[in-house]
Amino acid sequence: MRAIVYGYFTDELDLLNAVKELQNKGIRIADVRTPFPVHGLDAALKLRRSHLPKVAFVGGLIGGTLGLFFQVWVFTKGWPLNFGGKPFLSLPSFIPVTFELTVLIAAFSMGIAFLLRSNLGPGSIPDILDEEVTDDHFQIILSEKNNNLSETELVEALAATGALDVKHVNAEK
């Protein structure tokens, strides 16, 4: 039985201050939930940079290469056909399709990677503690799991940052 403690702010500036305050106290923050991406929060929470751009790059590389090679294969090995007197390997003609495939595969590989990585997707059921989080509540969630403090200590610490309506629940996991 590990307890989860959470509270919210109504102003993102208060949230940022609270995060800093808690971190100064050495309290680990389980999650912060906000209605929109708050500037500076990533840095405050010391989140690692996302790998998604790399996924997109690799996806684009694969898409473009496959697209280009497919076209080259079709026109030189598959069935070389004489179109309007052009050479079989008419590379400039292959640019548009190659480009489109690069973008398509890059975008979709990144999109899918995002969903998988974030465990989002159709049918995914989130653990929502406060519905107002998607409205105007900036929520901080602390967990007993990765802190050495007791439940009440966490509640106190959170309340001390000025968080409103600090609650705790006992989560199963």
Binding site: L81, N82, F83, G84, G85, K86, P87
Partner: protein
């Protein structure tokens, strides 16, 4: 049998067998049921689209062999039979291409003495007539079916009764050139005391009368255009519709073949009122009103006579308006004495007397005008009416003639026929005359017949059937034999006539049966020529001058009745191919119209398509550049209604405007005015723009310029060739490289190529409405542009088909690779791959690609959407299809393939025989049909081929060559003789 293929059996399981005695009787039932099940399930999603689209019903197909295979038929191979085409206005020796017992194409017979080079468009289209669904299906009495035997009995009985009662019996036919038939008719006439009269829809009895008066011979002479250095034609359309156009086209073109050895081009003057096909080809065309023809001829005669030291004939005929221009004509004629030819297209004997006088003065008789092989054609006179209208005939037998439609006194004739106690029509198709007759005896089409023909004296040819009779019909000759009680088969009758009359003309065969077989193989036999000389009666000239002098000056507008090259005398309306083929001058299809001069049109405020009233005709007007101001030209042959399905009824009947003058029918009359009705109807005009806009499309030069520089008018070609360069390596054509060269100097625009292409390539007929919407489907078209002032422009023509460009713009843009380049330089089009984006058509600078806008052919998978106004997709007319060419479905692009089916066939023959392909062996349909040899096809990789030679000619250029499309078609500049 494997499990997965069980579905072929499922047929019976779903279809309760009605009568198992016919176990295979339900072959139309579709079998792959489980597949279709499957498709139903997959009705959604992309995969299903693929499946449904490629799913064609797969019926259990039968393969039914012959019971006894005829020796001469090889399934999949064509057989050729020599035969002859003769219709009311022309004759042609042909080879009939027969595939699996069906004639599908007519080709010129190279062994012919008359028409070895090509055919006319009408000949090409005539193959469709055999499969005409409107033909009589069997003998009729008063419109009700009757059997042959009782009809024969009744007729014989009545004929005998009438003969005994002394009532005249009249047999009316068009000119008959068949020697056997003539003999038979004579026998028939004797048996029943009948009177035989010939009647021509458009007569030439005036010519014969003039020849009788001047030369003392009632004959139509032969003309030698190939020998004439100077041709002067006064309103005579000898390249299109006059006397023997196929023959004349070849002769004419032979003098327009320009190369170093033959720098002499003939000079052709055309003096005419309406723009005719011949006039549009003339080196110099002189515009004159129709009513001036007499004056013009008189003027020419007198000027020439004075020059040549003959006495001029004094009369008070005023000088024609174009006298100044005529002086050049006279000078040229005088310079080419003995090598010139003057002809006139008017049936007025007085005019023809003067023409004869002119030719006599020029010493042309015996040179360019000969009386050895006179034409047996146009034997009709106006005498035929005498008995019919005045002697109360007992029986009238009308055989293939239609005077009720095409004679100006049609009402009287109608009454006379109706009054006769017995009237019999022998005809293949219902017409205005057969409608009135008691009995109708259907005759077969000429491809189902035995017959012979002596078109020109001493040149006899045969006609032989090439398919079984499609309907319950009987040849007229057989009927006559039957009525006479003669049991001889008609075929035997002909054979015996030949054996007794022509066997001695040859000495190769000694056995009469062999002789007959040989005749059937060659189609023709030419006897020896006996030199004939004719006398000359000068006094007739004076009479002719006097009668011209008494001509009243023309009042108001003169209406000139012309003959449309496709429709002819009125047979054409039933042939949708001919209807759809645009007139080569006006480029209008599916209609007749009154051509009026641009100045007149402006004066009266008339634009193309305004309906006007003139005479008693209500007809759309067409503003024709080059038309004489006071002459209106209207084509006859239109306005056929009886027996013509509604969709094919086009235009108005202009025959009623012909007038009778001294017992000769004249096809012009004056005293008309033009009245606007305020209505307007767009005509099916396939070419809306008449000017080249100064573009180098048709390139031309005069003879003098050409003599100085053979590349005259074609300077651009050199420049473009000079700039020929490419970024990347061009494709190599390692075997054949097909190409075509077209000599614009030879092309007369007769449209035989268009119709040959129609026949060969299964091109659909789309009807008037679709042609109006620019949806016509012809793969080859003959563009016509005017040049110069609208009052009398120069005309240029250019046949345009797919140019088979090596850098084809169309190929690049097809997304599905349905069109690309073959290893032999063909721009190939795979119909079955085409999805119909029409991108290729847009990107074709020549606009030669054609799209199947609607389901014209009935080969579409979707039901109930056929668009076939001419009913050519019914089973019977479908038999005309060339089985070697795909019938295209709705929604695909099609275009000229250089007759790839013929390329394949000839290549294969050479391959099987293990020999190289000969130059000239391979001819596309257009080249083959062209009577003037303007089109040459061959292998460009062979430096000695004729086409390669022509491509090297300095006159050669490519259409829009500045675009660097590298076409495989070359055009040779048009050279006019204006010296």
């Amino acid at each position: 049998m494997s499990e997965e293929n069980k579905y072929w059996h499922i047929l019976e399981e779903f279809e309760p067998i009605k009568d198992a005695r016919l176990p295979n009787g339900r072959e139309e039932v579709v079998s792959p049921v489980s597949r279709r099940n499957f498709l139903k399930v997959l009705g959604l999603g992309t995969a299903s689209a693929a499946l449904i689209a490629s799913c064609t019903k797969k019926p259990v197909e039968k393969a039914i062999p012959y019971f006894i295979k005829p020796e001469e038929i090889t399934p999949g191979k064509a057989a050729y039979y020599a035969s002859s085409y003769f219709n009311q206005n022309e004759f042609c020796n042909v080879l009939v291409k027969v595939r699996d017992n069906r004639p599908i194409k007519l080709e010129p017979n190279p062994k012919s003495a008359i028409t070895p080079n090509g055919t006319s468009g009408r000949v090409q289209a005539s193959v469709l007539d055999v499969y005409n669904i409107n033909r009589f299906q069997g003998p009729q009495k008063e419109g009700a079916p009757i059997d042959w035997e009782s009809a024969d009995n009744k007729i014989v009985e009545q004929l005998r009764e009438l003969a005994n009662a002394g009532r005249p019996i009249v047999l009316i036919t068009p000119t008959i050139i068949s020697p056997s038939t003539k003999k038979l008719i004579a026998e028939f006439a004797e048996t029943f005391g009948a009177e035989w009269q010939q009647y021509d829809a458009i007569p030439m009895d005036g010519y014969r009368e003039a020849n009788k008066r001047v030369f003392g011979t009632d004959a139509l002479p032969e003309y030698h255009f190939e020998k004439a250095d100077c041709i002067v034609s006064v309103g005579c359309d000898f390249l299109g519709t006059w006397l023997s156009p196929v023959e004349f086209s070849a002769q004419y073109a032979s003098r327009r073949d320009l190369h170093k050895e033959n720098p002499d081009l003939h000079k052709h003057y055309q003096i005419e009122a309406g723009m005719s096909l011949t006039g549009s080809n003339a080196d110099i065309r002189i515009r004159a009103d129709r009513s001036e023809y007499g004056k013009i001829l008189a003027y020419i005669y007198n000027s020439l006579a004075t020059q040549k030291g003959f006495p001029a004939i004094a009369s008070d005929i005023p000088a024609p308006a174009v006298a100044a221009e005529l002086d050049n004509v006279v000078a040229d004629l005088a310079a080419s004495e003995g090598n010139s030819l003057v002809i006139c297209g008017d049936n007025n004997p007085d005019y023809q007397v003067i023409v004869n006088g002119i030719n006599q003065v020029l010493k042309n008789i015996g040179k360019t005008v000969g009386f050895e092989r006179t034409y047996n054609h146009f034997r009709g006179t106006e005498k035929w009416k005498d008995t019919l209208l005045n002697a109360e005939p007992g029986a009238v037998i009308v055989w293939d003639a239609n005077p009720v439609y095409n004679h100006p006194e049609s009402d009287k004739i109608k009454a006379a026929i109706q009054k006769a106690p017995l009237s019999v029509a022998i005809s293949s198709l219902p017409d205005e005359t057969s409608e009135l007759c008691h009995y109708v005896f259907p005759s077969p089409g000429y491809l189902e017949c035995w017959d012979d023909a002596e078109y020109k004296k001493g040149v006899v040819s045969v006609m032989q059937p090439t398919l079984h009779k499609l309907f319950d019909s009987r040849q007229a000759q057989e009927s006559l034999l039957k009525w006479m009680g003669n049991e001889t088969a008609w075929r035997e009758y002909i054979k015996s006539h030949w054996v007794s009359n022509y066997f001695q003309l040859q000495n190769e065969q000694t056995n009469t049966d062999r002789f007959w077989v040989e005749i059937l193989r060659n189609g023709e036999l030419t006897g020896k020529v006996e030199p004939t000389s004719v006398s000359f009666d000068e006094t007739e000239l004076g009479k002719a001058f006097r009668s011209i002098a008494t001509e009243k000056p023309a009042q108001g507008f003169t209406i000139e009745l012309t003959e449309n090259i496709n429709i002819g005398t009125g047979h054409g309306p039933l042939n949708p191919w001919l209807q759809e083929c645009p007139d080569p001058v006006t480029r209008i299809a599916w209609d007749n119209y009154a051509s009026i001069a641009p100045s007149t049109a402006r004066e009266l405020g008339i634009i193309n398509g305004d309906i006007i009233r003139t005479g008693n005709l209500t007809i759309p007007a067409f503003v024709q550049p080059g038309q004489a101001a006071k002459t209106i030209s209207i084509a006859v042959g239109y306005g056929r209604t009886a027996g013509v399905p509604q969709e094919l009824v086009t235009g108005v009947n202009a025959y009623q405007l012909a007038k009778l003058d001294n017992g000769f029918r004249q096809f012009c009359a004056d005293g008309f005015n033009i009245e606007k009705t305020g209505e307007h109807e767009d005509m099916a005009l396939v070419q809306g723009h008449q000017s080249m806009e100064g573009r180098p499309i048709v390139r031309e030069a005069t003879l003098d310029e050409w003599k100085k520089d053979p590349a005259a008018g074609n300077e651009m070609h050199e420049k473009v060739e000079h700039h020929h360069t490419t970024l990347y390596k061009e494709h190599e054509y390692k075997g054949h490289k097909w190409g075509m060269a077209i000599d614009l100097n030879k092309c007369t625009g007769c449209s035989a190529c268009v119709l040959a292409c129609n026949t060969e390539n299964n091109i659909p007929v789309v009807g008037k409405k679709e042609v109006k919407r620019a949806h016509e489907m012809h793969w080859i078209r003959i563009d016509r542009y005017y040049n110069g002032e609208e009052e009398n422009p120069e005309v240029v023509r250019q046949p345009v088909m797919c140019q088979h460009c090596d850098n084809a713009p169309c190929e690049n843009v097809c997304p599905v690779a349905a069109t690309n380049h073959s290893s032999e330089g063909l721009n190939q089009m795979a119909y079955n791959r085409c999805i119909g984006t029409r991108y290729c058509n847009n990107n074709c600078p020549y606009k030669v690609r054609r799209f199947n806008w609607l389901d014209y052919t009935g080969s579409d998978a979707i039901p109930n959407n056929r668009y076939d106004p001419a009913n050519l997709t019914l089973d019977l007319p479908r038999m005309r299809h060339n089985p070697d060419v795909t019938v295209r479905a709705k929604g695909v692009i099609e275009k000229c393939s250089f007759c790839v089916q013929r390329i394949q066939e000839k290549k294969l023959t050479a391959k099987s025989e293990g020999r190289p392909l000969q130059d000239g062996e391979l001819q596309p349909a257009c080249q083959q049909a062209c009577p003037s040899d303007a089109i040459v096809f061959g292998d460009l990789n062979d430096p000695n081929s004729k086409v390669s030679q022509m491509m090297k000619d300095p006159r050669n250029y490519h259409l829009l060559e500045e675009l660097h499309t590298l076409p495989s078609v070359g055009y040779l500049t048009k050279i006019r003789n204006k010296s």
